[in-house]
Symmetry: C2
């Protein structure tokens, strides 16, 4: 972490990390599948803990409330050293780290979707309902935006408040309750642009 903070992520090679840690390059890869994994940690375990927290919420609690409270388990301790803030910012700035971070959320999506699916009143199904997946992804997007803004503020902003504000904006009713749900468009099957 010190090396990353001093030299940046990409400039810090595995050889230097291994040397600084007093292990061989090969041993590094025995413990960490990649350089990104070293920074992001065991995402699977963390996701599991969020899932557990989500499923521990009362069944009658709404999806939004339940997922909000489940996310609370992710709050870092208040005594975060300055290094950690730099690392957090790095995770949002370095492309490959950001990508891994997003992948992590993708796995969480799968983990959290079943519970959310129940809370949304959607019928149980063998494969996750896209609506439940979208819901979890949107919640994670709010979380991400909040953490991002928090890291950007140097740790002074309140991430919980930021999260709540983000969710509120998603759900807000505008003056004219927009009609799109179920409204028809010109043609449902008109050709559009090419995919790329």
């Amino acid at each position: 972490m010190r090396l990353f903070a001093e030299n940046g992520f990409e400039a810090t090679t595995i050889d230097r990390i291994a040397a600084a840690a007093g292990i061989s390059r090969r041993t590094f890869f025995h413990y960490f599948g990649s350089k990104e994994e070293l920074v992001l940690g065991d995402t699977e375990a963390l996701g599991e803990s969020v899932r557990a927290a989500l499923e521990a919420r009362p069944v009658e609690e709404s999806a939004w409330t339940a997922i909000r409270e489940a996310f609370m388990t992710l709050r870092p301790p208040e005594d975060l050293p300055t290094v950690h803030l730099a690392i957090a910012r790095m995770c949002h700035e370095v492309p490959s780290l950001r990508a891994r971070h997003l992948e992590k959320h993708l796995r969480w999506q799968t983990l959290l979707a079943p519970d959310i699916q129940r809370r949304l009143g959607l019928p149980e199904s063998p494969v996750p309902d896209p609506r439940a997946r979208a819901f979890v992804a949107a919640a994670l997007a709010c979380l991400d935006a909040a953490v991002d803004a928090w890291a950007e503020s140097g740790g002074t902003a309140d991430p919980v408040r930021l999260f709540d504000e983000a969710v509120a904006v998603l759900r807000e009713r505008t003056i004219a309750p927009d009609p799109p749900e179920g409204a028809e468009r010109e043609t449902t099957d008109a050709p559009g642009r090419s995919a790329r």
Copy 2:
């Protein structure tokens, strides 16, 4: 694309691609920064077109409606060859491709956030408001879930309908809005057909 469909993404090396295309390995990297870029195409240009479409929507249109219509410009032509469906599925299954795809959305976030910020009635600010970013990210999450379910269905499901259903679930009001005490309720939308 043929090589990818036949052998999978990771098993297809740049050397084989270059050989099949009749160019040198080095020339490949002159045109494409990475293997992923070859598949995902020029994401920047596509994002620009979405941004243009978004800003072309009437100013009084709500954020959700405007972004929904802007996304319409992304619809692929109806005569998609079978290969393209396999590619689309590949983009959602191969980790590195999925990651790049998500990174693409991240750049789109920055592109679309300013307009959305206005539509949400948030004050103009030099740096994008996290709420606007969260909104765009959530909308992209709905889009992604819809496209995913569409690709999974083999191209038979209606992606627009899937998108609308996903958004509806996000915005739905339960009997008790947010506070922890409250009963769960069925969806107001007909459960409808799920993606598959």
